[in-house]
Amino acid sequence: MLSPVNVSIESLNLMTLVPMLIPIVGALLILVVDMFKSEQDKSMYVMLSLLVLSIDFAFLLESAGIFEQNGTVMGVFDVMLIDGLAILSQFIIVGASILFIPLALTKKRFHEFAYPEFFALFLFMIAGFQFMVATDNLILIFVGLETASLALYTLIAMHNRNKSFEAAVKYFTMGALAAGFYSFGSMVFYALTGSVEINQIASVLAANNYADIGFVLIAVVFMLASFGFKLSMVPFHTWTPDVYEGSSAALAGYMSIVPKIAAFVVAMRLFEFLIHSGVVWLEVILYIGVVVTMTMANIWALVQNDVKRMLAYSSISHAGFVMAAILIGTTQSNSALFLYWILFSFTNLGSFSMLWISRQKNLPKGQSSDHSYDKFAGLVKTSPIAASIMALFMLSLAGIPPFALFWGKMYMISSAVTGGYTVLALIMALNSAVAGYYYLKLIVYMFMKEPVVGLAGDVSAVNATLSLKTIIGIATIGTIFAFLALNQLLEFVTVFVYNSGY
């Protein structure tokens, strides 16, 4: 006989679900609105999404307050886990989304924004990511991951270019393989421990003192492969440049931030306990993975001819850089991860937005890609402000102080130093130097070359509207003046990370 389910609503703690429910409701709302009256202007959907996300953000603030008071909250049969990591990453997810969504208000008309489904899918995707970070249940992570990914594939494809479809198919296929790996990895964990909750897996493994280390490693390998794909670690990165190139610049920028932070949080939950329990193998593999990823990505970025592809590789490199935080696994490094990613969001979103505003409807004549370096040649002559801002983002990405990303880099390297990873710290530092080259390349094109004849006039802002400019303005201010807010940010992040036990 089954005993009657006797669960009080209170103990379910449904509040924990609210941040995810808001975008879902928003998405449904958009679909409903479309049902009643289709052919609405995209601005309406943009603003609706913005509103929804703002509410979501407000609720996150709320739960941040709760966390500061009560610490980690579990909910919904202990499936939901609202700890500092969850809240911080949701801030990044929702914040970046807020910055992204106005980018739909372009001057040129693009196919995807005409569909309300775009916005609905977008909101579903956010909910997916939020689920991913706010749980330590492998099932829910999987569900969140796939919800988000499937939505994302569709968003990419909606850009409606040959390359977009190609990108979507590639991403999709590899994503499916990664999902296979994920489920296989989960399955091994489940087989080993009889649980799909990370903290229980951890305690069971610790209890039997990692007796089946071989099988644990197999599970870890598949998890690594799966998250390696999401985080575009070499050699699981191959989709990244193609997908970034195929999707619209704005979405590419978004992709370089949001899915990754979600994956980072899961990786943190999943791998750090293993490293701390002394699984040397994982440490070694992560070490190698981090070094290879940032180095090779940097090297490939050197030889790119297209700015967007260059930025794609640069994102891979940055992800590798940040992956080091998980390897180091101290409170400082985990805080550094979030700090870095927050600062990175501003800069990277800014730089992709700069590409977005220069996006023409069709491929420029004689060009094989939308954002070749040639397009930016001599930009300072035609549009000094655009050139300066773009240069600013490049400098920030390169890690030139006092721009935003420098502080992230600095703190991350410092965490390597304090964590005892001196050589790693040096490698990270020198990689920044290598990376400097390709960021400079764009600056060289913009500031030191003459405009290429034949690329008609000033294309730097053909796609610009007020809202796009506002986003870029926000990113610019964030990039320049990050150091003013850094102290608060650092304290905030550290407290959240520390109180979550990382």
Binding site: V380, P384, L395, A398, G399, I400, P401, P402, F406, W407, M410, Y411, I413, S414, V417, T418, T422, A425, L426, A429, L430, S432, A433, G436, Y437, L440, K441, I443, V444, F447, M448, K449, F483, L486, N487, L490, E491, T494
Partner: protein
């Protein structure tokens, strides 16, 4: 006002640069000169208000920036940095005043003003991270200046300059982070404040590693052999103003940093590495002087000569005694003035003939006598003629190092021979002989604008050569404090003996005053 004078010195040019975007391009030059003149006046005021008898930092300001991580905006000035700051503002002023480029003057001047901010910032920063910020930031305007207004290889040169220095300073950054971590371990508090770090006594093995980390950053900037190859390209391709600022100020960042960081933080490591570094410096002196002799391009001669002279500065710095360090700081200023002037002079001739190949000239002494005279004076200053500014620095640097090693000083002293060889040879090629080229026959002599820039330099060159005291005095006061600190901090026997204790010196000095 004086409480914030350093911040004003740092950020006034930046503000002016931002406002400069609004200024019409025809008026930009006057605007730039005016701003630079105000900045220079402020710098002079700083000097005026500076208390020569205080060895520590003056006009200090502290603003919390990232207190959690121990990063604060701390600025201050002592005798070591004071004159380099004045020099920076001075060179920016005459650089803008003598600007002859006509292309995108507005961008140029705005860039220069930003550059000035970073230069002053480096020398006033008393927080390692703030120092690092300005240090790195200074690369950007220079990159643009070389890359946008330079010669045919300008992009290669500018990128090389940037990346090389950038790579070096990243290693230094790791060192800084380590240093802060050690401070954290020792005190439980994060701090990047240099003055805090001064209080930290590290075990020798750590000192060695950290010294190397800092060294890489500084050595590339200086640039020390074998890290010097970016410099000839940068100078060779840069426009006149770029070379002037690069030689006069930017290179000094490296040597200044040695004195600000390496010596007081790692006294034992400094002693440990004294001879290897001295040997590098000697190679730098002799080898680059030889390379300079082989050059065909006058600007390259001056560029390599810069490297060679920086070697003497390094030698002086690593003398680790008051004479040597004071001498090296003085030589920084001296070399700034002289090499800056030489680059300006090369610019003068380049503006007229659009070539820098010495073979294109010859016999200019009769065509441009005033030019030849000024060039001659500066050349003689460069080869270290007594009663010019350079001599004081070189003499003191070598004198100081003599205490540490006789034979190495003898080798380093070859500087005065090889320096004369390439300089005189270059001068002969350009100014002596018959005027062979038709184009050179009617070259106009230096004009008023150029004289405005050059004459003050000539005056400084000779004035400070005869009467270095106004500069040497404050330098000396601060350097004595540094040496004393090093002596106190030194842990190994060798370091204790190599770095003189100041008690003796101070006693003697007071005895002298009694007389």
């Amino acid at each position: 006002m004086l409480d914030h004078i350093l911040s004003i010195l740092v950020f006034f040019p930046a503000l002016a640069a931002l406002l400069g975007f609004v200024v019409h391009k025809d008026s930009m030059r006057s605007y730039g000169v005016a701003v630079a003149a105000i900045e220079f006046a402020l710098a002079l005021w700083l000097w005026f208000a500076f208390d020569n008898n205080v060895s520590g930092m003056q006009f200090m300001e502290t603003i919390a920036l990232i207190p959690t991580f121990g990063i604060n905006y701390i600025v201050g000035v002592d005798g070591i940095s004071l004159f380099i700051i004045i020099l920076a503002s001075f060179f920016t002023m005459i650089g803008i005043a003598s600007l002859t480029d006509t292309k995108d003057v507005k961008n140029m001047i705005i860039t220069l003003l930003f550059l000035q901010m970073t230069m002053v910032g480096v020398f006033v920063a008393l927080d390692a991270m703030v120092f690092y910020v300005f240090w790195e930031l200074s690369l950007v305007p220079m990159l643009y200046i070389i890359g946008a207004w330079g010669g045919p290889l300008r992009i290669y040169a500018s990128v090389k300059f940037f990346l090389y220095t950038f790579a070096g300073s990243l290693v230094m950054l790791v060192g800084m982070l380590f240093m802060a971590y050690f401070y954290y371990q020792a005190t439980g508090q994060w701090s990047f404040a240099i003055l805090d770090w001064y209080r930290l006594i590290l075990p020798e093995s750590f000192q060695l590693w950290l010294f190397v980390a800092f060294f890489i950053g500084f050595a590339i900037k200086v640039p020390m052999f074998p890290f010097h190859t970016w410099l000839p390209y940068a100078h060779g391709q840069a426009p006149t103003i770029g070379s002037v600022i690069l030689a006069a100020i930017l290179l000094k960042m490296g040597t200044y940093a040695f004195i600000r960081f390496s010596l007081p933080l790692f006294p034992d490591a400094s002693v440990f590495f004294m001879f290897p570094i001295a040997i590098l410096a000697i190679i730098m002196i002799i080898y680059t002087a030889m390379v300079a002799y082989a050059q065909k391009d006058i600007k390259q001669v001056v560029a390599y000569s810069s490297v060679s002279h920086m070697g003497v500065i390094i030698i002086g710095t690593f003398a680790l005694n008051v004479e040597g360090i004071s001498g090296s700081i003085f030589l920084m200023i001296a070399h700034g003035v002289v090499s800056g002037a030489l680059f300006l002079l090369v610019g003068v001739i380049y503006d007229r003939r659009h070539t820098k190949l010495m073979s294109e000239f010859g016999g200019l002494a009769s065509v441009m006598p005033r030019f030849a005279t000024i060039f001659g004076i500066m050349m003689m200053a460069s080869v270290g003629m007594p009663l010019t500014i350079n001599f004081v620095g070189e003499f003191l640097s070598l004198l100081g190092f003599y205490q540490q090693s006789h034979i190495l000083t003898l080798l380093a002293g070859i500087a005065i021979i090889v320096g004369a060889i390439y300089m005189l040879a270059a001068y002969k090629k350009m100014f002596f002989g018959e005027v062979t080229k038709e184009e050179n026959k009617n070259l106009p002599d230096v004009n008023k604008r150029e004289l405005i820039a050059l004459v003050p330099l000539v005056i400084i060159t000779i004035w400070l050569g005869i009467y270095p005291k106004p500069v040497l005095g404050p330098i000396n006061t601060s350097v004595e404090a540094v040496v004393q600190l090093m002596h106190e901090k030194a842990i190994t026997e060798e370091a204790k003996s190599r770095i003189p204790s100041l008690d003796i010196i101070i006693n003697k000095a007071s005895a002298k005053e009694v007389q």
